[in-house]
């Protein structure tokens, strides 16, 4: 009896324990559900605020623009703000959709070849202006790269990198510092306990001295809808989904992430993702192996990186830090007939701007000498000034070997082509026809002599009126280009160009007209443009310049 009682008691005890355990589990589930619910509520509340903020901006700016519709600059300003707000809104929506796709298991990864150089360049275009806007010091370092062309999911890799670096910018105060390093290692995870293999691991290290995170928050950093919550961050826009998306994507890609952070001091994110190398395509690059390249750059580390790459390509390098030293070196090289195959101008020099040096070297070394700029600047913003100063090509930083070699190779090919053209060999513009309008017989003869070496068909006119008549009588698209002198009897070059442009025929607008004049006043350049000419070519005209115009204009036509 006593035994039965004891058995019953122990069974009850088991059942009670089970019930207690079940209750505890239920309580935990309830707590988790409530926690998730709290996070979702907080997310919804924050989202509704976050969505409302850009929507308010869009609506407000639209009504301001409508009420000042005649003031172009004001409307333009409003439209720019609307564009910023709507981009932000779109990002919010995209994050929510991404998270939903990941949570429902509908996310698939692609397997395609991509260029790491292109990707890093694109990311920098997004991130750099944001850092510049906050006056932050932003450093990007490219370490050892074994393979620039990889196979993987470029879209999601970009998303991961933009999220990590973008957060560093977002959560670092004005004038703060962000350091990003990108490199590769082969075959072994850098994280303990992972398997060894032969894949290429892409490493991204992102360090900042921003607001950092508490140890408590670090534990929840990858949970959806969580954000660092304090007075500083309440003004920072975001959904709290970014890191959850990053972690989910990394898990699917077989990658790893490690975060270290200290509140008030900054954060350090380290991610590592395995990729396969894309198969090598047949190389078409022709590098000037054994030749010297002059590097002009004040920063040793950057110059060293350029030099290392060039040495890998079999080239010799000379490094100088001053513009004056570079010009002295080139003058001596020219005198001794040992010119380098190119000048690589970096971001900065100790004594003067790189563009100023480029302008002088262009005069010193001639039109064909390759001057390449390797810099972090936004090329679109300086392109006009740089090409005017004589820069032949631009290689953006962060510097990748492939881009540097491609630029050099293209210039070498071009130089070879130009050499051939200068020698009158292998150049055949015989399918093109140009009209040379020049009243001076001597000048006409010289120009014909120079141009005929390219095989181009030349017709002449001795004044503007004859040129208009010749063009008018010819069938459409008969001429490909017109070289027009300005000072001529009967009808000058401006009037002739204007009359040609006004003719009622399709090619009147498109025919290329190049002014050839020694007149150098500001008015002359303005007048030739106003008369509808495409280019202003100053006299005395030399052969190389004429060939350059043919190359530029006729190749563009092709």
């Amino acid at each position: 009896m006593q035994e039965m009682k004891n058995n019953d008691e122990s069974q009850y005890q088991i059942m009670i324990d089970q019930l207690r355990s079940a209750n505890a589990e239920l309580s935990e589930s309830l707590r988790a559900a409530e926690e998730e619910n709290r996070a979702k509520s907080s997310f919804l509340s924050s989202m509704s605020h976050d969505i409302r903020t850009p929507m308010n901006a869009i609506m407000g700016m639209t009504s301001i623009a409508l009420s000042h519709i005649d003031e172009k600059s004001r409307v333009f300003d409003c439209l720019q703000k609307i564009q910023t707000a709507s981009t932000h809104l779109m990002n919010l929506v995209n994050d929510v959709l991404d998270m939903s796709r990941i949570a429902s298991g509908r996310m698939t990864l692609s397997e395609e070849a991509f260029s790491l150089a292109d990707m890093v360049h694109d990311i920098m275009i997004i991130v750099r202006p944001q850092a510049a806007h906050k006056h932050q010091e932003f450093h990007l370092e490219i370490g050892q790269i074994y393979e620039e062309n990889l196979i993987g999911d470029p879209l999601h890799l970009r998303q991961i990198m933009v999220n990590i670096i973008g957060n560093a910018v977002k959560y670092t105060q004005e004038d703060g510092t962000i350091h990003v390093s990108i490199s590769q290692h082969i075959g072994q995870s850098e994280f303990p306990g992972q398997e060894t293999d032969n894949r290429i691991w892409l490493d991204l290290l992102c360090e900042d001295n921003g607001i950092g995170m508490s140890q408590e928050f670090l534990k929840r950093i990858f949970e959806p809808f969580e954000r660092v919550n304090n007075t500083t961050t309440s003004k920072i826009e975001g959904t709290g989904l970014g890191m959850a998306i990053v972690k989910s994507l990394l898990d699917r890609m077989g990658g790893e992430i490690k975060v270290e952070s200290e509140e008030g001091k900054g954060s350090r994110f380290h991610i590592s993702i395995p990729f396969a190398a894309a198969p090598h395509t047949e190389g078409t690059q022709t590098l000037p192996t054994g030749q010297t390249v002059l590097i002009a750059e004040s920063m040793d580390s950057r110059a060293q990186q350029i030099a290392d790459y060039l040495k890998d390509g079999g080239m010799e390098t000379v490094h100088l830090k001053n513009g004056m030293d570079a010009v002295t070196w080139l003058t001596e090289a020219q005198y001794e007939n040992r010119m380098p195959c190119a000048l690589l101008l970096g971001q900065e020099l100790n004594d003067m701007s790189v563009l100023d040096v480029a302008a002088h070297v262009r005069d010193l070394a001639g039109r064909e000498f390759p001057i390449i700029m390797v810099a972090e600047v936004d090329w679109a913003q300086i392109e006009y000034r740089a090409t005017r100063a004589g820069i032949t090509a631009f290689v953006p930083c962060p510097l990748f070997k492939s881009r540097l070699f491609a630029a050099l190779s293209e210039l070498m090919d071009k130089a070879q082509r130009n050499n051939s053209e200068r020698l009158g060999k292998h150049v055949d513009y015989s399918q093109y026809r140009l009209l040379l309008v020049e009243d001076n017989e001597f000048n006409r003869e010289i120009a014909i002599e120079l141009l005929s070496q390219t095989g181009v068909q030349i017709e002449t006119a001795e004044n503007g009126l004859r040129a208009v008549e010749a063009f008018e009588k010819s069938p459409e698209n008969y001429y490909d280009l017109i070289f027009m002198d300005i000072q001529m009897p009967v009808m000058n070059g401006y009037d002739a160009a204007r009359k040609i442009r006004q003719l009622p025929r399709k090619d009147a607008e498109s025919i290329i007209i190049v002014a050839m004049t020694a007149n150098a006043f500001v008015e002359d350049i303005r007048l030739s443009k106003e008369a509808g000419m495409n280019e202003h070519c100053s006299k005395p005209v030399d052969a190389e310049h004429l060939y350059e115009i043919l190359r530029k204009r006729l190749s563009a036509e092709e």
Binding site: D70, E71, K72, S73, R74, F76, D77, G323, M324, V327, T328, T331, E332, Y335, N350, D351, M352, S353, L355, D356, V357, A359, H360, D363, L364, G366, N440, F442, N443, I446, Q487, T517, A518, N519, A520, F521, V522, E523, D524, I525, R526, L527, K539, P540, D542
Partner: protein, 624 residues
């Protein structure tokens, strides 16, 4: 030289005389104005003739330069040297154009001697341009400094082949180029001193001297010592290393000793300039305190002979006070207790400038006054910076003075019309918005318009030869240099409290309303609270330029009605529609037409009063 070259130079000289406005024989304002208008049309005729000469003769030569005969190239070079001989400038811009062309020719023919010679002279031409940029921050003018320095650097690079080069003259150019690489501003004082020190070592190398004893080594070395000490006045003490200071000290001692010897042999007083150099370097190496240095400078300035117009007297009376002001700017705590002395210095300078003989060449006095304009300090009882600038304009740029007065008065008239219709039109300007009384607000706006107009072109003082002495259209490079007058003007006006409100108009009056064109890039219309006023000044300035000095820009002179029509055509692009819409109102344009005419007449009259001795009013400077 070719006849057209002689004629061009003769025209330049005539224009300089006509533009100098020495109308001592005009006994009434009517005669003065008549002479002024007659001279103006004479100037225009000569300018047009010069443009014609260049178009018909010089440019065709450039056209066929590679086939030109050697004697044509020699004549061209001779012509260039007459345009800028190192001391006097007749046409520095054309000088550069010619040497640029000659350098292209030399590079084309691979003539080493010619390349070196042309690089040297092109460097000199560019140095002449750079000298107009006094007071500008290096980043704004770095391009011009670099272009000058690189010409000298390339020529100096041939030093390595000194023995290969046979021509003695070319060897001289190489050495002079080497010395000139240290001309102009540098990012650090040490770089400049380091370069000069290297040049000195080279020039003192007996090996080089023995190779070419024909060259004036002593002169080269002495000039390099002078160049070394020229760095003192604008170098901060912490910029220089101990080695730099030693080098300057040695040079200062050598130059001072030589100048004293020369003064004794010429029976003259010891020169003040080198005395100051010695004091300055003693201060830099700690032998004198700043207090001591300023005291010594005061002693030198007090010794100046105000009846003399020698270079040394001008230096002591104007340039030394400018350096004195520079120290006080660097160390404002030293100003306390020196205000009255500074005010007396300014009075002495103005009296000296007024007494400057009309027939003397006034280049040197102008450069010294311009130096003072960049370091000027306002005190409670001193003349204001604005008044000082007016004196500069009246004396050295009367055309710019008249233009500025016209823009100021016409802008004020236009603002009056606007304020009657929209009293809050200028309320983006905080201090205007805060004025609640309508009458006071209106008065404040009109005063702002008048002074913004009066000072919008003060930056042109730096480029005076480009604006007032260019006897042809500008070349593209010159046009680009003139862009800097907006930055210079704004920087200067911003530096003094009394003129700070007028700086935005100086900066932005050449910008376009829609931001698509114009200059400078640093003016952001939408971010500037003064933009409505800047728009007004920009419009009136453009109209007056279109009607009066269109040739510089390569445009045809317009009548008032044509200018109004073109301004309307440029609505929303160059000009604010809020302003051009008012130009459609005939009553408004009539008022503006009258304002332009009256303002020009009044400015002329004021100039007549100020510059013709017998009619001078006791109150010489307009109080603003």
């Amino acid at each position: 030289m070719q006849p057209y070259q002689e004629e061009y130079i003769a025209n330049l000289k005539d224009i300089a005389v006509l533009a100098a406005r020495k109308y001592q024989n005009c006994h009434s304002f009517e005669t003065y104005r008549e002479t002024l208008l007659k001279n103006r049309s004479l100037i225009e005729a000569k300018v047009n003739r010069n443009i014609e000469l260049l178009r018909n003769e010089l440019f065709p030569l450039f056209d066929r330069l590679f086939e030109a005969e050697p004697n044509e190239l020699e004549e061209l070079e001779e012509f260039a040297k007459r345009l800028l001989d190192g001391k006097n400038e007749l046409d520095g811009g054309l000088f550069c154009q010619i040497y640029q062309a000659l350098l292209s020719h030399a590079r084309h023919t691979k003539d080493c001697n010619a390349i070196i010679r042309c690089l040297y002279w092109l460097g000199i031409g560019r140095h002449n341009m750079c000298s107009k940029m006094v007071g500008l921050d290096l980043p704004d003018i770095e391009y011009y400094m670099s272009q000058m320095r690189l010409c000298f650097t390339e020529a100096a690079a041939y030093l390595k082949y000194y023995d290969d080069i046979c021509d003695i003259e070319t060897k001289g150019y190489i050495l002079r180029s080497r010395a000139n690489t240290a001309l102009g501003q540098f990012k650090s004082a040490s770089s400049k001193i380091h370069l000069t020190r290297q040049t000195l070592q080279l020039l003192q190398d007996e090996d080089f001297q023995q190779k070419t004893p024909e060259l004036p080594w002593d002169r080269y070395i002495y000039m390099t010592h002078q160049q070394m000490i020229s760095g003192i006045s604008y170098n901060r003490e912490n910029d220089m290393t101990a080695q730099d200071v030693t080098a300057i000290m040695e040079s200062a001692h050598i130059v001072h000793k030589r100048q004293i010897q020369e003064a004794i042999s010429n029976n003259e007083a010891p020169p003040m300039r080198s005395a100051f150099s010695c004091y300055a370097i003693e201060y830099y190496c700690g032998l004198l305190t700043l207090e001591d240095l300023l005291g010594r400078m005061e002693e030198l300035m007090d010794l100046a002979d105000t009846s003399s117009f020698s270079s040394d007297a001008m230096y002591t009376i104007i340039s030394l006070p400018a350096i004195y002001c520079q120290y006080l700017r660097e160390y404002p705590e030293q100003l306390s207790g020196r205000e009255k002395y500074l005010e007396s210095l300014y009075r002495k300078i103005i009296a000296y400038t007024d007494a400057f003989p009309e027939n003397e060449a006034n280049e040197q006095i102008f450069y010294f006054l311009r130096q003072l304009a960049t370091t000027f300090i306002e005190t409670a009882h001193s003349i204001s910076y604005g008044e000082f600038q007016q004196i500069m304009l009246i004396h050295f740029a009367p055309d710019i003075y008249i233009h500025s007065q016209v823009v100021g008065k016409t802008a004020a008239a236009f603002c009056e019309i606007i304020m009657n219709e929209e009293p809050s039109f200028f309320d983006d300007i905080e201090y205007i918005r805060q004025i609640s009384d309508p009458g006071t607000k209106r008065q404040a706006v009109l005063e702002l318009a008048m002074n913004s107009g009066t000072f919008h072109d003060v930056g042109k003082i730096n480029f005076i030869s480009l604006f007032t002495r260019t006897a042809r259209q500008w070349f593209e490079e010159e046009y680009e240099i003139t862009y800097l007058h907006t930055v210079v003007g704004s920087t200067r006006l911003n530096a003094c409290i009394s003129t700070r409100h007028y700086a935005p108009a100086a900066l932005g009056h050449h910008s376009w309303y829609d931001g698509s064109r114009g200059y400078p890039e640093s003016y952001k219309r939408l971010e500037c609270p003064y933009r409505q006023m800047v728009d007004v000044i920009g419009l009136i300035d453009w109209m007056d330029n279109s009607m009066n000095c269109a040739w510089l820009y390569g445009h045809t002179k317009k009548s008032f009605d044509e200018a109004v029509q073109e301004a309307i055509a440029l609505e929303r692009r160059r000009f604010s529609p809020l302003l051009t819409t008012r130009l459609r109102d005939k009553a408004v344009t009539e008022k503006l037409r009258q304002a332009f005419e009256t303002a020009r007449y009044d400015a002329c009259y004021h100039l007549y009063q100020e510059t013709i001795p017998h009619e001078k009013s006791p109150q010489k400077i307009i109080r603003l």
